[in-house]
Structure formats: C-alpha cells, structure tokens
Assembly symmetry: C3
Homo-oligomer: 652 residues x 3
C-alpha cells in the first residue's frame, strides 16, 4: 500500500520543484505521476524537442526519493500536429468534426496519428526507459473519455470494413450472422457497409454491436502500440493506464491484457452527482459519495485484471466538472483512501498536487491550494501514510462473484426495450444488496474460472453461445451456484435472439422464457416468494419451468401465477433464475436464501456502513455524516458506534 | 369481415412455407401480406433478379387458399441502389444526410428513385398482376414514417420552387399571399425561395405551410406513380397503402383518392406509451390501450375515404419500439379485433406471423413465437374467426361528424402560440367526450357533404376561405348544426390572419373575435354555463356577439363577463362557437345540450367502456382490467356486468 | 416624457397613412419609428431604389406633427443580397449555416456586408439626414437577438485571430495569459487559434472569454460604422439602438458609448414567461409581468449610459413569441408606461401601431387591431398622454448602486461550477430585496465613479485586476460601503484564478477565500446572523477573516463555524463580504443592517407593490391583480389602498 500524487512540473516555476518534492516525501507519498498532457511543452513545434525540463523534473523527483509514473502525452496532440494532420480529428455520431481546444481530439484509426504516437512514445521511452526514478508508465489518459472511443470518420469507416472482413471472411457470413434480410439490408461486399450512424430510424442492432466491438478493438490496438514500444525500451517498469468511473466504451478486459496493472480515477462526489440515483440519496451522501458506487468501481477494476489495482487519480477535495460540486466533508479523503485499500488497491494517488491557476480545471482542488499552502486533504493524507504500516493490504478471493461483461452492457443498452433499463443500475442493485449483507464481491468476466466461488450472480448475462454455456454448465456441475437475472440468455453473440430464450442455458436453467414484460417508470408489478410479496419494476422475464423448482410466482394481473424465480438442481450445483428486476427488499430476501444454501454467512449492516475483509483485517467504513450504532453487529468492535465518515479496523 | 397476417417468407426456410400456410388457413385467416421489404432478396445486385422464390411463396399461399396482398418493396431500397444514386438519401431539417441502415432512406423528389421505383414496381406488376392468388397490392410501407415525408435536400429545393411557381404563377402573387414585406422577405423570383429550415429564428409561417403542402403533394405524387403502374398491369386487384397512428406529415385525403381502400397499422399499446396522456391514464390502460386513441384512428381512417378500411398491421402481442413495452393482457387481441370491425374495418391483419430472429424488431411478438410455436394471440385470433359469421360488419353513417383537416393541423402546430397547444389533443378531447356519451362519430373533411349529420363539430377549423365558409353556411342553412372550437376561422389558406377573426365565418357564427388568451400549462380560467362553472386551459377565444345568443361567459379576471360560448340561429340551423379549450366536464355538459337540441340521444357509459352501433348489432367493449357493472345502462344486456377486456354483442 | 409608436407604412395601403398619422397625433403620441425592416421595399433588387414611398411616408408623418425615428434596415438584408454574398450568413456553434427566411441572418465580420451596410445607410442618411421630421435614427434592430452576436464562420475565425494579435501582441503573451500549458494547448502563432466551438469537451475558459469579448467588439464596431455615417450626414439628430430584455451577448456599456441615447424593448409578459421564475410566481404576475424583472431592465439600461433612456418597443397587448401568451390585464399598459417614466424613461414607444396581417408576428397585438379598429391599449395610452403634464420626469441619482458588468456575466456563465448558477438570478435577487424595501437603485459598471453612493452592492464581481481593486479601494477609503457577493474577486481578467481569492481585493475585504461550496438545486445550507438562522443555496464562499469582523457564520456540517459574512473597516468606509447565495429572508435581514449603517431609510412594501422616487414625485405601483392595503406605509397616500394594477402619485 502506497500513496502518490499527480504533478505537473510544466505548470510551475522550476524553483518550486525541489521544495514540492521534499514536501511530497514528507507527507508520506512514494509515487508521482507526471507528463501525461505535456506534449506541447516537450515539442512546441514539429521536431523541436525540449526534453531538458523533463530531465530535470524527473531527476528532482528521483533525488527526493520518489518514484515516477511517466505518462505518454498522446491524449493531447498539440495544435501544430492537428494542423499538419487534420484527418486525426474525430467525428461524432451526428457527423460533426470535433476540433482542437480541449483534449482527446484524435481518432484511434488515423494512420498519421499512430505514426506520431510511435514517434513521441519512442522518444520518451528511449530517453527515460532506464532512468532509475521512472518505475512506471501510464499510456495516454482516460481512453474514450468524452465519448471519443466511437468515432464516425472516414478512417473508421474504412477500418470497420476491414475489421468485418476479418471477422466474417465472406459477406454472406455477415449477412447470415446479422440477419440482414430484415428490411432489405443484405450486402454484396464489405465495401457497402457504412457506419451505423445517421440512419433514418435506429440502426440494425447487430451492425451497431459489431461497430461497438470494432471501436473497442481500435482502442485496444492503439494502446498495444504504445505498450510494445515501452516494453522494448523500458524493461522492468510497470505499464498502466488510468480508466475512469463506469467507463464503458471499450472492453476493459481486453485492454488490461496488455497492461501490468490497471488504474482508475476515483471521484466519489462527481460520480454521485452524475449518477441517476434519486435526489434524496444524493442529498444523503452529498459530501462523502455513495459507498457502493465507489466500491463497485474498485471491485470492477480489480476484477478486470484479477489482481490489485491502482487509483491513479483520487479526489482530494472539491472537483470542478460535475453539475454541482460540493465541498467534501472533513475526513472523507482518509475514508476514501482506506476504502480503496480495503477493496484491493495497491497505490492511491491523489489528483493533483496543487490546484491549477487556469484552464478548464481551475476550480479543481489538489493537496495544495492555488497559492501552494496545504489544502485540507494534506493532513488527512499524511495521517493515512502513518496508518499504512499497521494495515492489511492483502486481498483474498471473495466467496461471491458478480459476472459482468462489456458486450452485455452494449447489447442491452442498444436495445433497452424498456425506458428504465440501465445495465449498470441493475448490477449496482445486486451489488449493493450483497454489500449491505456484509459480503465482499469479485466482479469478473463470465468467461473466467469461477470454481472458487460458491455463488456467481449474473444479473444480465444477455449474450450467450454454446461455449459460454458449456463453461457455466461445468461450473454448476462441479457444485457452483449460478444466479441468472433478467434478460439472461436472450441473444446470440451476433445480437440475434435465441429461440427460445435462454438459448443454450435452457438445460442448465431448467426454464424456458416465451414472454417478457417491460414496464414504464413508475409502474410496478408484484411477486410472491414464500408467502411474502415484493415489487419489481422495468423488466420481468416470465418463466416456464422445464424441470426447475418454482421459488417465486408473479401476482401481476396479466400473468398471475407464472413462475418468477426458479431453481434448478444440476450436477452437484444449482442454477437460479430471477425473472423480475426486483426492489432492494426483494433482492435482500432472495439473496439471503441463496447465501444460506451456499453456506455463506451474512450480517445486516446499517445504511451507509460497509465492511471489507482482507486476509488479516476487517475494515468498517461509515459513509454517513452522523455516527452510527454498531454494538449489535457480530464484529469485534471496541466502541458501540462508528463516527461520521470514520474507518474502524477489526481483527479477523 | 376477414382476418389476415403479415408474412416474410424470405426470412424463413422454404420448407416451412407450406406448413405455415396450412396453419394460417386453419386459424381462419384469409389474407396474407408479403413482400414489402424484400427488394434486396428480389434483386441482390443491379438487374440480378431472383423472383423465383417469390413465385413459389405466392403459389404456396395461393394453393393453401389464401389471398395475397403483395407489397411493393420501395420502403427499403437496397444498398447497391443507394450507392449508385446517393442523391436519393433524404436530408433532415438540421441539414444532415440520413443514411442507409434502417428503412425509408429515400427522398420523394429524387428523379433517380422515381425511375428505380417505376422499374421494380413494373417488374412486380407484370409478373404477379394476373396471378390468381394476388388479390391486392400495398404500395410501399408507412409513407412518411420517421419524419421522412419532409426532406430538405437540393432535389426538394428545386421541386419546391417549381411547385410554388405552379401554385402562384407570379412571384408577386406569392409575395402578396405570404405577406413577405414583413421582415424584408420579398422575393424577385421563385429561384430565390429556399426551404424553410435552418433560419435564424422561426421561418415565415406562410412559407412553412406551403412547404408542408408541397411535401404532402410529393408523397401523393410518388404514390400515384406506383398506383398507375399497378392499375395498368393488375386489373381488378385492390390497391391499398398502410398508414399509421395519427400520421400527419401528408394529407391522407389526397393520398387516399388514388387508392381503392385505405389501411392503417394499429398498435394500441405503443400508441398509448407514446401519447402525451398523463401517467395515471397510461397506468390504467397499460395492457389494453386507450379505447378512444384507437377508436379515433379507426374513425379517422374510415372517414378519410368515407368507406370501410383495413387494419393492415394489428398488434398481436408485445411490441419492441415504444419507450416501454408491456405485455398485453389476455383477451385484448380479441377485443382489438372486434373494436376494429365495430368501427368499420373490413379486414384485420396481424403483424406478424412469426417473431423475427434478428434486426430492429426482434422483440416484436407475432402470432407465433421465434421458434414457431403458437404465441398467445393465436388462440384469440382463432376465436375471433369463429365469431365472425355471427357478427355485423355493416357500418352506417353516424349522426355526428367531427371535422378534421391536415392543413389546420399543420397551421396551428406551426404557430401554436400556447405551449400546451396540441391539435390532436383537442380533437381527441371532443371525440372522447362524445364517445363516453355512447355516440358513434364520423371524422371527415370539412369539405365533405355534411347534410347527413345533425351535428358537425369543428374543434379547430383554423384555415377558412370563402368557398369553405359558403359550404358550411349552406349546411347550416339547410338545418345543420355547426360547432366551432377555439382558433376557428383565424386564418386564410395562405396562413395570414383574418381581420377580424373568424373571417368569412363571421356572419354564420354571429360573433367576432378581437382577442384570444393563451395560458401556460397549469394555469386555468373559469367559464359559466347555465350557472354552473367549468374550467378551461391553454386557449380561449373571446367572443363579441354580433347577433348570436350567449350560452356561456368567462369569469376570468382580465375579461370577466365576456362571451365564451355563443349560438347563432342561421337559416334552418345553428352555429355554436366554443371559445375556450374546456375540460372534460365542460365538454360533457355543453355537448349534452347540443345533442338535445339536435334530437340525438345519449347514455353515460362507464369509464373505459365504449359502445359502437353497426347496422344490426351493438358492440360493447370493456377496456378496463376489471369487470364493470352495466345493469344501469339502457341496453339489452344479458348480464349485469361486462368482464375485463371483454366484448359483448347487442341486438339493435 | 413623450410617447411614441412603431409603424410599418410599407405594410399598409398608402391611403391609410394620413388617417393613421392623424390618429397617432390625437392619441398624444409624438414619435414614430419606421423603416427598420424595410430594405427589400426600399431596394427590391440590387441598385433598384424605391425611396419614393418612404419620402411620402416621412412627409405624411411630419406633416401631422410627428417626429420620426428612422431605422436603418440592416437587420434584414434582402434575399438578393444574401444570394450575391452568401458569405454573410452566420454559422452557429454547432457549425450549421443559418439561412435566409427570418431576420438577423448576417455575420458582423463579413466584409461584404459591412460594405453593403455602408452603402444603404449612406443612401438613407444622405436622403433623410436633414429632413425636418427625422429627429432620430435607430441603428439596425436588436443586435445579437436569436444568438446572432456569436458567429462561428471563417470570417470570424480570421477576425478573431487579428483581434487576439492586437490584444496580446505576441503569441507568448497569449499563452501566458490563458495558461495554455494546461492540456498542451500552447500556440506557436495566432494563426493556430481556432474558434472555441465543437471541441471534444468544454473549451478553455480564457479562450472562450476572449471570444465573447471579440464577438462583443465586433457588434460594437459594426454599430460604430453606422453611427459614423449617420453623424456625418444627419447632424443634430439623436442616434439610438434598441436592445432587449437581459441582452447579454455584447457589452452594452461599450455599444452605448457611440449612441446618444440607449433604447430597449420592454415586453413584461413575454419576459415573465421566458424567465426561470417558479410557476407560482409566474401565475401570480401572469397578466401584469413581474415588477422587478421589468424594473431591473429599466435601471440596467438607464445605468448603461448613466442617463435617461427610451423604451422603443413597449408591449401594448398580447405578444406572440413566448411559449404561452396571456392577454394583459386591463390597466397594465398604463402601469407599464408610468413605471418606465418612474425609472427614468424619456420616451415610451408602443410596438406596434396595427397588428400585422401575416408573417412571424401575426398574433402580436398593437395599439390597433388587424382591421384598424383601436385595440384596448389605445384608450390607456391616451390616458397616459393626458397624465404626463402633471408628472415628474426628472430622475435623480439613487443612494444605492448595484454593480454589473458583462464580463462577470460571461465568465461565471462559462464556468458555472454549480447547476443553479445564474448571474442574472443572483443580481435580480439582490435587486428585488432592495426594491421591496422601497429603495431606488442605479445599476452601474464597477468602473464608474461611485462616490455618490452610500452603498454599492457587487453581487458577483468575479473578474478583478489591480486597477479595478484600486478604484474600489479609493471608493471605500473615502467613506463608501462596498458589498461583495459570492464569487467576487475569484479571477483575473484573463479568466485565471486568483491565488488566493479574492486577489487584489483581499486587503480591502479583510478576508481570504480558500474554499467554496457548490450545492445541487434543492440542497440548502444554513447560516447564522445575530442568532437568527437563514438558508442559502447554490453557492457559498467560505471566508477566512484577515482583519474583518465576522457578522455571520455557517452552520453547515462540513464547515460549521466558518465565517459566512464579514465586514472590514477600511479608511472611512466599509467592505462587507457575503459568502453565500442567500434566500430572500437572508438578504432582507442583512441589507437592513447595511442600510442602517449607511444611514439610509427603508420601508417594507407589500408583495408586488413598488415605489420609485423621482425628484419631485413618488410613484407607487401595484402589480397585483387585487387591491392592496397601504395605510400602514409611511407615505402621504390619500387612500388606504391601491387598486389592482394601479399607479398612485405622491408628493415628495
């Protein structure tokens, strides 16, 4: 467990660098990320290289005993580069060219930009690849932010056609896979296939899903280009990339394969403000963020590589970019830091050292104020650094897995069929219910080896082929318990519908789904489990048992008596199917039954209080702005309460 | 009364066609619509014709005793055609080219597309025009859907200038008609007139109204092109086109002149979801649709041609395209079918035979599930087929007319002057009040001979010239009763204002309108009729009687005491003017008085229950999800209740 | 105090002109504005001049004893001009060309349009410059309306680069001023700087602020071009321009420097409908408008030139352009007229003489109906004309100033940092509180000599440099009292942040601001002043006293006890800092204390009642639709109530 900070030496007079570095060290920081937006400072005009200042900055930080994460500056190509190669500018879905003047103004498929990228990354890698202070690299910055992972330019159109040809081989295969006979969309050649934007009405869902895959692959390929150069010239250094909150425009699993460690940027308050949570929940967690939104992202990105992750940018105070930007409560920077470690973070690095005097982020707080005096977070960070030696940093596999996959997100979002459909919302609902029962979770790909998990929840396992079905069947046969949520098994990988749903999962699930229900926001239906009644909203799969036991039935007029929740015994394990998108009460009741079956214990945590268990230590966190009574919890707690925004460590 | 189904043989293996046809026949279906999106299957590359499969499909259906409606496939030009003639792609009001990848991607004024249309329609008409199974043709599919009836491309600009020249003869006449001296918009030549989009602020209302007319005429001309070919090569066959819910981008009356029968596509649940009705009403009719939204469309399209119509696509289960898509209640497919016949439908044809395995509509239910097993609607349809022999199918003219005209819709929508203005909303308000009083209505053009109607309601007869005024005056003189709603008589046909309003209707109405009031949503005014007080909203015409008797007066502060409702005796008839957009209670009270004057009876139907009277049979329909007591109704009912979603037939 | 009217002789048959003029005169009008949209009537094709009708119109009006304001017709270039010089069409922020068909379809930086402007204005000025009837000129019409003051075309890009070069001299100076090192935005030459639209995420705030300044300067320069010609050819005539409600796209102070008198267009009901006020307030003032919205604009535009102003267009009845358009209450045209004079208007001119028969504004009322009969306002206007001789028209400087500056508006709007931030809303909040206490206010630039004001409120003095700080410091030193609201002193003129805030105001204010709070709509905080508790919303500056006395402290959890309101004694004066955006109750309480300190009296006016004091007369105005008791007010009132929408004159 280490702490770090993001630093922009190019923003500040050189005589401040050494005192800054000394104070970083004194605060207990060990890592400093620099350079990721510095291209115009490094190369103010084509070929005019000014690496001297970076040499001195790296030396200064290294001399102070700090380790450097050096960012490649490709998220911000300079104006001269854009003017020389205007074709690198991306085009949005409405056909508008997106210009210079902020960041991420490039298309991942522009050949000229790939060449310029190779050039600048090679220059940096050659110069700093063996520098002792440089212990890690960050490629680019937040790929795909501001919607840039999907570009609709001519470069992309050409590349997409090539990608399709590689995927399908023949145009007949594409026509068959997509079912283009619908609405006369049959193609005679790959050169006929356009990008799926600006169509008269919604584009073909198979076309769009493949475009999403292609766009994701374009990001992955672009990152791989950078990684290859860095590996060659800078052996032994970690290579990472910083992704962000619920980022979904590319497949994190694929991108992470090329990295040594995955990082993400954690802004709990901005995340809450931009979330679709109701106003009263936002008011409740106004100055601390929502524990499960943050925790979900930690677990998500730990799961992506299946190993400890970094928080590359940790909110240290007020941000500037959300619709509203409340001041964090005292103590929450410490809370967030320990929360991150409790979820398996290896490094927590604050963004940024000192608030910027100008530009888009000038009201973004840092560890220091604009004038250099320490901001409130500094003392909290220093405290965290002192606590670290007595803290446990060793994550162990959880007993419960939550299955997540980007293609399921894309496919269900492309065709929501219900206004309230929200893939992340469904997953966070499952997650929050289990977290409120005190469980640790691993969020993992359904493709992963699940054998270590007693329960695997798949809230929306939409796209399923025989191979995945076989993998999951083997998991259950050997004693696992798979829980399938709404819309699972509905589609093939090419986004056609299974007939009948749930396709190749039918035998495992022991049910067939001939009908679904989709409800407008505000309309609910009722389901009965063990004589108690619960509500659901948005979506309901109607189950026809084919061997499965019925655990719950719908009470809704139009289909009262139909099976809503079933459980199939299969091999040494079980497969439970949950038809409706239930409320929290529904999830809590059902999940307790399933946890009991799996022999997993739980405890009922108070609202806003969360618990993580590392190998040797439990970490109890209070996200409420009041103290909360904890005496009734079966935990070895010294006090009967946990203070507002406090963290308490427990022996396990 | 016959039943049919929409079928896509090109989607399914050929060996399923004959069994499918046999099952259609067994269900009681007699018509099958095919072919309307099949262009790329018929001609996968330019001139490479594959009509053999269609030959076999038509033969198979014919052999099973089914009659075929063959659709021309022009709603979906194949990609090779778009690539060969890129100028056929339409341009939206924001200037964006709308691309290939869904449907309706063509401009009605593209010469090349008219040539290609002639070619493919001629090929089809020649080949199948005399085939015994082909008993009807459908031109294209849902003209204008997805906003495609108004295109802003260069073709349209050229054509619009020609259209204007034909309409006005000289540019001086246009300048005068439009009043272009306003804001210096005088033109020197027709070549100076642009399309009315992308202006700095709102475009000139006379310019826009003529563009709407031109766009409508473009659709009509395009359809006529197809009809002409079909008539020539396929004598004796019905020619139809399927329009849809509240379609308003072209003049249905003009289009229908070229057809033998008009069809429309009836999706009660999607219609309700997309309507502006309040949430509580939507919740109430969630799984049955709103009786008056559906009924209005039936009466609207029957009125357009003044004769029985077809429902070419009848929702048989869940749809996929509304914001949310609830599962219909059991029984409502039967209810909808009988409702259609009760309103004068000749054929009800379900969309579609079997749910599609891929593409944009893959979650749209059919009579059969994706895997071919019968879906729930099949049994209901079979039941309807069995009921038909004992049902009355003969519509007789109603006693009451509701006057509707597309130009009034366009003109009031172009300049709503009040946020809550909604042309259809106002008409449906009148319609629903009269339907809840048990009346049958004909929705007809104000130009029509009205002599058969005791009462003619014109909720918003906005555009009036001397000729129309004369026609209506003659109707009243001869004993008719014309009821004029808000904004009637306000404008000339060129969308200039009458001075004073109601222009040429002034003498007939016996009132003058010097002021109107426009109220923000949520603000209401009060009006008194016969000492009872009622609310109104959105709009109020302030009436100055010039001979008319005052039936109601405003109580609203700023103009208390002003006449709100007047009645003028004229010749042997009456003209009533209704100034405010009243609430349901206002309409019910007023309309009962008018019905009484006209010697027309009424009865007060329970909420959600509707009655139609054909020549020999009454049809009572319950759209509620509960049974409703009917014992108090003066109808010859066997039971004292009508079950949820049930239809009861009465002897007349 | 004089009355006038806007008139369009080109819209009406020539034989109506003389009778119209006679009736204008008889109503008591003295001014008539004509010509401002008449270009195509004056020059129907290039060089074909038809000034004869205008000669006759001016002569007719002059002969009737009316004075003419002649408008230059540049707001509506004719179609032939646009076709000859298509480059004059403006481009919106989304990159779309805005076309012909309404008005204001030109770019302020199009050279060809500047030439055409010079030509037409010179022709008019030469012909009518010495005409005895022409006593004033209006340049163009409502510059910048419909968002046209910011154009994103290639002309503007070129001009912007030149403007930047002139402002900064070297590109290094720009890089430094903007802090372009942020996100690698350093420029090597002015030719590299694009316009700040269509960027991937928000553009750089310094870049945008300078573009706003450039756009404003472009309007000012264009107006100056016209003024120069008019001054040369028409000596001794007033030159004015009519701006409108809360117009903010250019700097009114700079534009007004070139004018003799500033005019604005006052539409109280449209203004209310389009305002962000809550529904219940809108309902309350539905037919009278909100007194403080209207009053604010009067005081704003009087303050812009620091002298009496004109209302060039006064709403005389219903307008057509708001979302909803209620009919004004009887009496409010008189109320609005006297309100204008009470705020220092010299001329009130009604828009328009007769309602237009066609075009975009055909439902806009005038003094006469469409058919020429007098509309309701005529009688009220005639009454006002009769009252004028006994009315006081002499405005005297108020005791209290409200500081306003367009650059503060632009900068805080560019980076609101809080969803509820609304610059005008904050200012109107301060204004309304002071007006409800019976005070007159001057709204003036912070740059102005403030020595006459006992109190100067600066609700959001965001951008401050040393020079302005010095100016304000001298004001306080000499005994003034400066009140600084939220976000004051936060930024430099180049939109960088001061470190620390409030920058050069720190010494004067005696506080430092290290943190701010930004709250989502619906979330409030609490502040205590003198043991009473008040709420605030949206924004709070947290104050660290450095010599100032604490008047109020925050009670909000995360920073309870922090100073919220402070007062610093400085020289012979005081500087009060108000950290939070308080509610009305907060403002009333605090402002009374400050007024007491300043030795200024106040009285508590009833809701909707407002008082103005001219040199010799008080004007009490009731905007409520009911009579209001006034007996308790310490005013010499004859009656104990003021009637609905009435005006009462008081001796002072």
């Amino acid at each position: 467990m280490e702490l770090g900070v993001c630093y922009y030496p190019e923003h500040w007079p050189e005589d401040t660098w050494a005192p800054d570095a000394a104070r970083m060290k004194a605060l207990g920081l060990t890592w400093v990320r620099i350079g990721e937006f510095a291209w115009s400072a490094l190369e103010p005009s084509p070929g005019e290289l000014h690496f001297d200042w970076l040499d001195r900055a790296v030396d200064t930080l290294g001399s102070a005993g700090l380790k450097v994460v050096l960012g490649t500056p490709t998220a911000t190509p300079p104006k001269w580069l854009v003017d020389a190669y205007p074709e690198i500018l991306p085009v949005d879905a409405w056909g508008r060219l997106r210009g210079f003047g902020s960041r991420r103004h490039y298309c991942f498929n522009a050949e000229s930009y790939r060449r310029e990228t190779e050039r600048i990354v090679t220059l940096l890698a050659e110069r700093y690849g063996h520098h002792q202070a440089v212990q890690a690299w960050q490629t680019d910055n937040e790929y795909g932010h501001h919607g840039t992972a999907r570009c609709y330019c001519q470069n992309c159109q050409r590349a997409f056609r090539g990608w399709l040809e590689e995927r399908y081989g023949t145009i007949e295969a594409l026509n068959e896979a997509w079912f283009t006979v619908f609405w006369s969309m049959c193609y005679s050649s790959f050169d006929e296939v356009d990008l799926p934007n600006l169509t008269v009405t919604e584009p073909h869902p198979s076309h769009s899903l493949d475009f999403y895959r292609f766009s994701s692959d374009s990001v992955v390929a672009y990152n791989r280009l950078q990684v290859k150069i860095l590996r060659e010239h800078s052996p032994g250094r970690l290579i990472t990339h910083n992704t962000a909150i619920f980022f979904e425009l590319y497949d994190q699993y694929k991108l992470a394969e090329d990295l040594d460690v995955l990082a993400w940027d954690n802004y709990p308050l901005g995340m809450l403000e931009e979330s679709p949570l109701p106003d009263e929940v936002k008011a409740c967690y106004l100055r601390s963020g929502h524990p499960d939104l943050v925790g979900f992202n930690h677990d998500l990105y730990r799961g992506v590589k299946g190993k400890p992750f970094w928080v590359m940018e940790q909110q240290p105070g007020q941000v500037n970019w959300a619709p509203s930007n409340p001041l964090p409560a005292p103590g929450v920077v410490r809370l967030w830091s320990h929360q991150a470690f409790a979820h398996g973070a290896e490094v927590v690095s604050y963004f940024r050292w000192r608030a910027a005097p100008g530009g888009q982020e000038l009201m973004h707080a840092g560890l220091n104020l604009h004038d250099g005096r320490p901001d409130r977070a500094s003392a909290e960070v220093s405290g965290v650094a002192e606590e670290i030696p007595n803290r446990d940093g060793e994550y162990r596999q959880a007993g419960v897995a939550l299955l997540h996959d980007y293609e399921n997100l894309w496919a269900t979002t492309l065709q929501p069929h219900a206004q309230g459909w929200n893939y992340w919302g469904l997953l966070v609902g499952y997650y929050a219910a289990l977290r409120s029962l005190g469980l640790d979770l691993d969020i993992v790909s359904p493709q992963r080896d699940l054998s270590g998990y007693k329960l695997a929840f798949a809230p929306a396992l939409h796209l399923v082929d025989e191979s995945l079905a076989g993998h999951l069947t083997r998991y259950v046969e050997r004693g696992g318990h798979l829980v399938l949520g709404p819309r699972s098994g509905a589609k093939t990988l090419s986004n056609r519908v299974h007939a009948p749903i749930p396709g190749p999962l039918r035998g495992l699930a022991g049910v067939r789904i001939d009908h679904v229900d989709s409800l407008r926001p505000g309309v609910t239906g009722a389901v009965t489990i063990a004589e108690s009644s619960y509500l659901y909203q948005t979506w309901a799969d109607l189950l026809t048992p084919e061997g499965a036991e019925v655990l719950g039935t719908y009470q809704t007029d139009a289909y009262a008596g139909t099976a809503a929740v079933t459980q199939n015994t299969y091999g040494r394990g079980r497969c439970t199917v949950v038809g409706p998108w239930g409320t929290e009460a529904f999830h809590l009741n059902l999940f307790k039954r399933l946890l009991e079956q799996a022999g997993l214990g739980w405890l009922e945590l108070p609202e806003g209080v969360r618990l993580n268990r590392l190998r040797r230590q439990g970490i109890l966190q209070n996200f409420n702005s009041e103290a909360v009574a904890t005496a009734h919890l079966p935990l070895e707690l010294e006090d009967g309460t946990i203070a507002a925004h406090d963290v308490v460590f427990l022996k396990l």
